[in-house]
Structure formats: C-alpha cells, structure tokens
Amino acid sequence: MNKGYRLVAVLGICAALSFSGCGQDNGGDTAAESAAQTPGAAATPDITAEVQEHYRTKISLPPEVWEALEKGQMTQEEVDAKAAAGEFPKFFQFSTPDQIPADLNWQDGSDLPAFASPDAKQGGTYYTWIQDFPRTFRRFGPDANGSFRPFILDDVVMQLGRRHPNDTSITETGFRYYPGIAKEWALDKENATVYVRIDPEARYSDGEPITADDMMFMFFLYQSPHIQAPWYNNWYNRKYSNIIKYDDLTFSIKQPEVRPDLLFKVMELEPLPEHFYKELGPDYPERYQWRFVPTSGAYEVRPENLKKGQSITLTRVKDWWADDKKFWRNRYNFERVHFTVIRDVPKAFEAFRKGELDRFGASLPEYWYEKMPDSSEEVQKGYIHKDVFYNDKPRPTYGLWINQSKPLLDNRDIRIGIQHATNWDYVIEKYFRGDYQRMRTNSDGYGEFTHPTLRAREFSVDKALEHFAKAGFTERGPDGILQNEAGERLSFTVNTGYQNLRDVLTILAEESAKAGVEFRLEILDGTASWKKTQEKKHDIAFAAFAVSAEMYPRYWDFGHSVNAYDRAFLPDGSPNPDRKIKPQTNNLQLLAYPELDAMIEAYRASSDAEEMKQLAFRMEEFLYEDASFVPGFIIPFYRDLHWRWFRYPEGFNVKLSRNVDQFFLAWIDTGMKKETREAKKSGETFPPMITVHDQYRTE
C-alpha cells in the first residue's frame, strides 16, 4: 500500500524525480559480499531472531485504546499493564488450512475485461527523462518518497491485486479488483477479514517464490522502527488487527473496523521479500540505500545499468512470471526504459524535439500552445503526434490553505473576503487558457462521494470588500491595501514550493490587490515550503495533496482537532486556552470544531456507504462555511507529445490513469522508428495526428 497522501511534487510535465546509485538485485550475493569485506569483524546482522520474537509477542490494540492514548485519557504504562495481563489479542497468528471458513465466496476478478491492447509489440527501448537522480533505491525510509518511486514501486510492483482502471463501479465488496500476486480472495465483511490465496507461480525477480511468510514479514517490517518511516509504523499498527497464516500460500488479514473499503486496504498490499531484508537493523537507511529490492513486477534495476547522476535503465525481468496473465499481458512492453537526468524542463523539451526522448508531457499551456503548437513543422508533417486525454480520478487539491490560528485569519469574515478576493477564474481563463477547471471542494473526483452542488465562491471585489469591512477593514491605504482603525494592513504571506507555478501566484496577487488585500509571495524550494507548512508556520500556503484512487475522501487527516492541537478542548468542550499547535500533520487549516470532530468520528466508524456519503456532504458544507480552503484548479486531463513510433492503445489510456507511464500500456514500434527517421531525412510526410480522447470526460 502506498502512502495515500503525498505532496504533489511538480505540475504535469515533470511529475517524476529522484533516486540514484547501484542496486544489488540479489540478497544472497550481497550477504556474501559484505561478509567477505569484513573478515573477522562483526558478522553480518541477522534479523531472523527479532522477527520471530516480534511474531510471538506483538499485540494488536483496539481503536478505542489508540484514541484514549492519543487524547491522553490513558497512559502507555496502563496499556502495557493490560497487555501483560493478556487483554489484547496477538497480531501474528498461525493456523491450518482446515480453519478457513468453508462458505467463503472466493473471487478472482476473471469476469472483468482486460484493458491492454492486443496490438502491443514487445521490445525496444523507451527513452525518457527524470529531473533529479534518485536519492535512494529504498522503497521507504528517509528520502524514499521521491519522484522515481513510481518506477520501482507504485506503478511497477504487482500488489495482491489492483483496482480495475476502467470499471470503477463500487460493488457489495467495494472496488473491483483484478488479480496481481493473489490468485483469488474472499471477503468476510462481518468479521472485517479478507482471505487471500497467493498465485503459486508468483516469483520475485531473483527467482524466489512469493509466499504468505513474505506477507507476515511485510507487517513486521512496516511496524519496525528500523525503517525510520513513522507513517508506515502508524498505519500498519493501527489499520490492521491481525494476520493469520493458514499455509504457505493462504492467509487472512483482519481490520479493526468494518468499513466499505475493506478490500482496498488489503488488496493493495505488496508482500516483501524476507530473504532480502535479512540484514535489517538500525543502519537500514545506509545499508539498503542502493540495493534494488527484488520485485514482483516486470522491471528491475541492474547495477550495470546505472550511471550515477546521469542515467538509469530499467530492464525487463527475464521470463517474468506474469507475462501471460490476463491483466498483465501486453503491458510493460518495453525491453528497457532509459531515464536520462535532465535538470531543466526546457532542455528536456529540446531533447525530445531532437528525437532523443520518445515523448514529453505537455500539460502546461506553454509547451502545448507555444513551443509545440499544432502548426509546428514536426506536427504538421506527422512526425510528432499530439494527444489530449481526459481522465477521471480524485484530483490533487491545488488551492490556498489558510492557517486559521494566525491573527486576522482567525476571523471568518476575513477568510470569506479572501475567498472572494482570489481570482482563480482569471488565472484559469487567461493563464491556463481555459483548459483547466475551477475546483469546487477539496474532495473533487470521488464520484458519488463528491458533493453534487457545492461550488467555490466566485471572485467579487464588492463581496470581498463587504466582508473585509465587517472585520473592520474599511479604508484603503496609500498603496490601495485595506487598513483597519488600528492601522493594521490586510496583508498575508503566501508560500509555495511550486517554482513552476510562481506565475500563478504573481497573477493572483495582482488581482487580490484590487480587492484591497496584499499577498506577499514566498517562493521556496519544494521541501522548504512543505516543511514550513507542516510546521503550521504559514499564513496561507499554496499546496496540493496528491490523492490516490481511494473510495472516499479523508477527513480525519485534514479536519480533526487532534491533528490541529494537542488537547484542543477542555473536558467541558470549550477550547483549551493552553493548547499547542501540532506540527507534521495534514490539518493545514488548523480546523478544530467539536461538531466537525463528531461528524468525522461518525464517518470513520461507519460501515454504510450511504451514511458516509451524507456525512461527507454535511462536512463539505461545514468546511464551505468555515471558508479556510480556497479551492484552486483541477486539471481534468493530461496532454502528451510523442514521436509517431511511440504507440498507444486505441482510446489512449485507462480512466484512472494519472499519467502516460502509470499503466505501461504503450509500446515502441521499432519499424516505424526507422521509417520516421528516414522520412525526416528524405522529407517524406505522414498525416498529422492531433487527437482528443474525451471518452471519460465528466463535464
């Protein structure tokens, strides 16, 4: 399972970045090598004993205990005492196949249609680019959440199952899944348990079979402090209550609460190779920095295919075990995927134009309209094709996050004024040329879970002035910025880490000045800005969360008071005067309302999708009234420029795809590549191809 929410690194064209080095694709070799390097010195660490001890002793705390701990109603000592008394069940359990309930309804997704193109050709090298060399090959831990991660983890590994990218309907059991590592699975909804049988053919890229032990080990690893990844520690401790192994290939996973997305939380797990992580220890980040994790997927990184700081090549796993599986056939068609590190986007574009790169993402209008307009020679001669693809998935939340713990911003009238003083429509119309759309709420794109009628407030100087006046800001100063009687100026800092989108803020600031509010811009590098925002030191942050294709939006992360303050309220429900701001959470607006907390808790506890929908709508309305998030824009499509030999299936891509590379459906036609190269020399032309694929367009 991926970390659900990540900061959106960059917009569109360069959604990918960072990683590096020389991987080891074989755990055994590595062990032998490091042993050879240190003769007589400390022996290679071995985690086996620790794993066994963990399996034996690990207990699972019920949600109410977690909550009590969090709210300070219970201490760790009390919990430990209860655990010693055996009050809590074991997390890791072992059983036998005859204990599997007989009446389970096993599914294997075989009724779903395949979505790859039967025309796809295998082979060839796909030349593409990344902006930074990755900083590690590790999948988790420090620096692992870089932009190269999709190519070694998210988009490449198989997981137990994957959500069908075209059939997005929600059934009795939740999303529709097609099999990955799992051969079949069954949901016992009453007991919040999912049973899974692993495909006996499943292998890691080093040839080792994938078993239920790897699944158990995955929980050990993610619960381990060695990996230095608190998000994983928290998620895998709290979202699951046990794993039971029945035989080498069969296991079940239980969750603490019955939710509509039980299947989602299990199917998107990825077993981890126990044999590879044998040397785990406190030095995990360094020891595993440049080792490539044996993968269930089609691509691996071999040490000889790396030039540190310059390029990386993914190579197709030889005789990949899933080659002929229904949903994996005709995908991952390239024999090799070659990434060149190009730090400048304009330079990458020039490399594409020369034919050194096969394709170039052109969601930014600058590239689509100015640098490669429809009229350009390459397009008109049919060498380069242009495609627009409308996808339909939860949208990254580009907007202004107002910190309501700051002076002035704690006044709702001022926040509403800011809503009316922010001219997103102008930016969308004039700068993005009407291609993008105004975001409505911060959970757009969740289908039935998205509020049907709510719209963001429009730009209106009169309304903004009216609300600012209510807050006492009536007079314009000499620079046109409003002031109150005390002489305070209506001025706020807007910080962002999106260097690419700095022009957007420049335009917004020019427009907001018309309504008498000043936005001072602070354009930082991505990490610095995100850090500031996570520490809640921002006035207003321009940021976005990348959202994975989950069933329903999250509110706890963004809206619950425990993520805003330590002890937000006194026992009688009034705000705690001594409360401290809680850093490193996603409640960027510092929302803390008992009534919102109540709705969020009801929403979290609900197992009924309909009830959750109603709650979601009520929460959206509440957040609208609160007015501390100014919805920005959504990009309802992605655009691609590609040489004509880079081929796509009919219809271009799948509904849920976030970019071209995600599902690996494209292929290289080597014959056409030769033909095009020769045609360029001889001046022969082909029909120009500019296509809009709007079959999944929603509005």
């Binding site: 304009p346 620079d479 046109g480 800092t493 910080n495 020019e510 811009l521």
Partner: protein, 357 residues
C-alpha cells in the same frame, strides 16, 4: 572649490578620452533618468484632468475608480488609467489623461487576445520590447531592474571601499602584529566562496521580510565577503607612502594618526582606488545578475535583468525577444562601465603615452 592642479589635469585628460567620457555621460544620465523611472514607465499617468481639476497621481496614493466617475465593479477597485484614458477620449469633453511613454508598471500582467503570454515587440500596444512569459512589459522590467542593479552596485562599491580602505590603511600604517593578524584573517575569510554563502544565507531568510530589506541583506552579505581584495592594494600603498618624507614630516609636526592617514597618505593613494571603481561596479552588476539568474537573488516578482535572462534562455525559440533585450541591455551596461574604467585608468596614469593592452 579649488581643485588640486594635478587632479584638474587628470579630469581634463579624462574628458579628452572621448570614448570613456561619453560612456560616463551616458551612464550617468541613464542612472539619473532611472531615479525618475516612475515618470517615464508607469501605469499611473503624469496628469489627469477630471472635471477641471488637475491631478498628479504618479507619487500619490492609489485612487479608486469611483473618484473618476466610474461605476459598478470599477468604482471600488484601483483605477486602470489606460482604460480611463480611452474612456475620456471616447467621451470627448474636457477630461484627459496623459500617460508616460511606457504606460505599464513592471508588475502588471497584460493579456493579448484574452491570453497572458509572451508577445513580440509592438509599438501600437506600447510594448516596445515585447512582454515576458506572464505578459509583463520587458522595457519596464529592464529599466526598473537596471535601477536596482546600478544603485545596488554603487552602494556595494561604496561600502566595500569604506571597509577595505580603512582596514588596508590601518594594516599598512600600523604594521606589526596588527598587520600580521589581519592578513591571516583576510586570507581565511577570502577563501570562503561568496556565491555559496549568499545561496545558503538566502535560503534561510524568510520571505516575510519586505523586498527592500531583502535587498539590503543581500548587499550586506556581498559586502561582507568582498571587501578583502581592496585591503591588499591599500596596505602596500600605505606601506610605501608611510616611509616617504612628507609622512614623516607630518608626524614630526605632531599630526594625529587619523590625520596622517586621511589627510596625507590617502590622497596620495587615491589613484589606485579610483581606477578600481568601475571594475568593482561591473563585478557587482554581474554578481547580482548571476544570482537572479540562478534564482537566489532578489525575491519575485522584483524586476531584474538576471530573471529576464533566465526566462529568455528557457524560451529561446518561442520568445527570442526576451533574451535579446536582456542580453543587449546587460552587455551595454557592462561595456559602458568598462569604457569608463579604461578611461579613468589612462587619465590617472602619470605617463601620458602608455597604452594598456
């Protein structure tokens, strides 16, 4: 004021060197003009005549549309004088607006055909050098950027010389332990790469500081890491002059140390100082442009030549006018300063017919 005949002769010679002299005149006039940039390049008009009253908004407060009889939404927002001018013209009547030569400020994004993008030079729209990628007038940004750069470099030169001369003279004059100690300190100090220091310091300065504050901080950092070179020259010069008879005579007469340094020794070393000035200015302009180009200089959206160069290189094929304008402007400024520098050097050279090559 009575000039020392030697100084007068030097000035006369400077004037005789045509190339340097005219460069000097040109640069000084540009600098003086840039001080009044608001009157030349601005979205605020020079004069508005509304219902018989003359208004001069250039340096005044923002005025809302309502003051000029605009209605609806326009009444409550700062007035757009270009639109107002058009409106007054269409209405006829006695009202009029006189706009500056370039009627745009360096921050506003003007759209063309409903889209904000870079447009080529256009006299009709009064974008004489075109607009940059967000539709801001390039001439306006260049001119305001030039003003910042030249004022910055003058301040930079003055400060580095102040520190450099004072310390250099003291080292040369006192000698001994003081000299030894400071020389070592300077050696260590000057080995710190200043560009990296600027980058590091600027990455931790919060943007909540106002733009003038940030420019001042940048100036201070640059001065801190640049004053050292001047001390070397001043130290040797002072060493030499100190041993001359006139310095000894002054001492015998009972003159105080500051008096000897500033009244006697300094005027005799001034030629060294003066000949370096233009090159320091060049270095300062180059440095601030380079920093802006790298994105570590002045905070956005401050207009600057480096920022324009950066935009230009990213849009070489689609908007060549950006890079052309910025490049020509930069080369022009640097050439002017260099010509002046050469002329000064020649003028201060005691041997009239030496030619520097």
């Amino acid at each position: 004021m009575r000039l020392n005949p030697l100084t007068a002769r030097k000035l006369r010679r400077f004037r005789e060197i045509r190339r340097g002299y005219y460069s000097f005149v040109l640069l000084v006039s540009l600098t003086v003009l840039s001080l009044f940039a608001e009157l030349l390049i601005n979205d605020k008009p020079l004069v508005v005549s509304y219902e018989g009253v003359l208004i001069f908004p250039t340096y005044g407060a923002v005025r809302l549309g309502g003051e000029f009889g605009l209605e609806g939404i326009l009444a409550n927002i700062p007035v757009n004088y270009r639109d107002l001018q058009r409106k007054f013209r269409e209405e006829g009547g006695g009202n009029f607006v006189i706009m500056p030569i370039v009627p745009y400020n360096p921050y506003e994004n003007s759209e063309v055909d409903g889209v904000i993008r870079s447009t080529s030079p256009n006299i009709e729209r009064q974008h004489y050098l075109g607009t940059d990628t967000t539709g801001r007038d390039i001439l306006a940004r260049l001119f305001y950027g030039f003003r910042t750069a030249i004022l910055f470099s003058i301040a930079f030169t003055a400060l580095t010389y102040l520190i450099g001369i004072a310390l250099g003279c003291m080292m040369g004059y006192f000698g001994g332990i003081f000299d030894l100690l400071f020389q070592r300190i300077i050696e260590i100090w000057s080995n710190i790469p200043f560009l990296y220091m600027v980058i590091i310091v600027f990455s931790v300065i919060p943007a909540t500081f106002s733009i003038p504050t940030r420019i001042t901080i940048l100036l201070v950092i640059m001065v801190l890491f640049s004053w050292t070179f001047m001390t070397y020259y001043m130290r040797t010069e002072t060493y030499r002059e100190k041993a001359r008879d006139y310095a000894l005579a002054a001492r015998v007469l009972g003159a105080s140390t500051p008096r000897i340094i500033f009244r006697h020794i300094l005027p005799n070393t001034i030629s060294t100082v003066v000949t370096f000035i233009p090159f320091t200015v060049v270095a300062a302009i180059t440095a601030i442009t380079a920093l802006d180009f790298l994105g570590w200089g002045l905070p956005p959206p401050t207009p600057s030549i480096g920022e324009l160069l950066k935009q230009g290189t990213a849009n070489l094929t689609t908007a060549p006018w950006i890079v052309t304008s910025a490049f020509v402007a930069l080369v022009l400024i640097l050439t002017l300063v260099t010509f002046i520098g050469e002329a000064i050097r020649e003028a201060f050279d005691p041997k009239k017919f030496t030619i520097y090559r």
